[in-house]
Subunit: 198 residues, 2 copies
């Protein structure tokens, strides 16, 4: 099993632990890195070193950035809309930012309630959300459309009843570019119920 | 597009250039790295730094290792069999080593002859092969079963005619665990021609 010494073997094993890479693709990736030492391996090594030093978790919203509070929490224009979008994960925040949803702020829960996996309210960044919710006029619950995501959304809605904060959720419907034929019945019936005038 | 500062954005872009990773999976990989900073990001950063310093290309066979000559070329037992296996790429060498083909040596061409892509004999490690071939009694041509691979095999065979070196190639046939129904006609007819007595 001697594929090129312990340094290379260890690099393969670490890369294989990234999501989307297995042992085989990690090996291909390492060979690619070695072939492109100047153009890719050295810059990647330097970028990783810099990121290790720079990356912080935002103390306000849970986003990942190089400053804390993160650039979104630190931007006053982001607060003017009064909209706070609650997401499960930093990846969801990034996805919404790529979609260009506008001048909003976020709150990253760091997961969803899941009694089966032993995840309770104390394991999520929920108290932080309740504490800062009062600074916003609308809370958009943008959890995934899974059972756990919707359970978490219900929990938050319950915690915020009695306040004058408007609690909303993302619309269900046909994905843009999606074909009806490939959609599940739940999505189709939701899309029909929520139909809009052209 | 502000997903977490320039350091993180740069890391995503570099990882996205690895084979098997695109922009989306590179983003997921970076988030995973950030979440597992102590267990994965720091060790990966250190492993990459070490590999950058340690990795060498073997001056004899073209293998990638931390020494040159590589551990295979430096091992005298490897020379006793008199077998030299010629492969296109380091990945093929590693694949044969994983298969446990025994005490053999290798020669990495670094590609195949491909007039369409402008790859001629001078672009490959062919002269190195001809020079060291005389130290071996058998040369196994283990190029891929593509047109370019077979063209390269013919070229090497031509260059070695007139010597007393035995030139062989890998057997074609049904892959172990493969189903006949899914195999192409070329493989099936080769497998029938080369049938063996049980």
């Amino acid at each position: 099993m001697a594929s090129g010494g312990p340094e290379i073997e260890q690099l393969i094993q670490l890369l294989a632990r990234l999501p989307g890479l297995g042992p085989r693709s990690a090996r291909r990736a390492v060979l690619h890195l070695i072939k492109k030492k100047e153009q890719l391996m050295l810059p990647l090594s330097a970028a990783l070193d810099r990121a290790v030093l720079a990356v912080k978790s935002c103390e306000v919203c849970g986003n990942v950035d190089t400053t804390s509070p993160c650039s979104i929490c630190a931007d006053p224009r982001r607060g003017e809309s009064g909209i706070l979008i609650v997401v499960e994960d930093v990846a969801d925040l990034w996805a919404l930012e790529r979609a260009g949803v506008g001048q909003v702020r976020y709150h990253v829960l760091g997961g969803v309630l899941s009694p089966l996996d032993g995840v309770g309210p104390d394991d999520l960044n929920l108290e932080g959300l309740i504490a800062r919710a009062h600074d916003y006029s609308e809370i958009v619950l943008a959890m995934n459309a899974t059972v756990e995501g919707q359970t978490t959304a219900h929990y938050i809605t319950d915690r915020l009843t009695g306040t004058d904060i408007r609690v909303t959720r993302l619309a269900h419907g046909v994905p843009v570019g999606g074909e009806l034929d490939y959609l599940d019945e739940g999505t189709l019936s939701q899309a029909l119920k929520a139909r809009t005038v052209i």
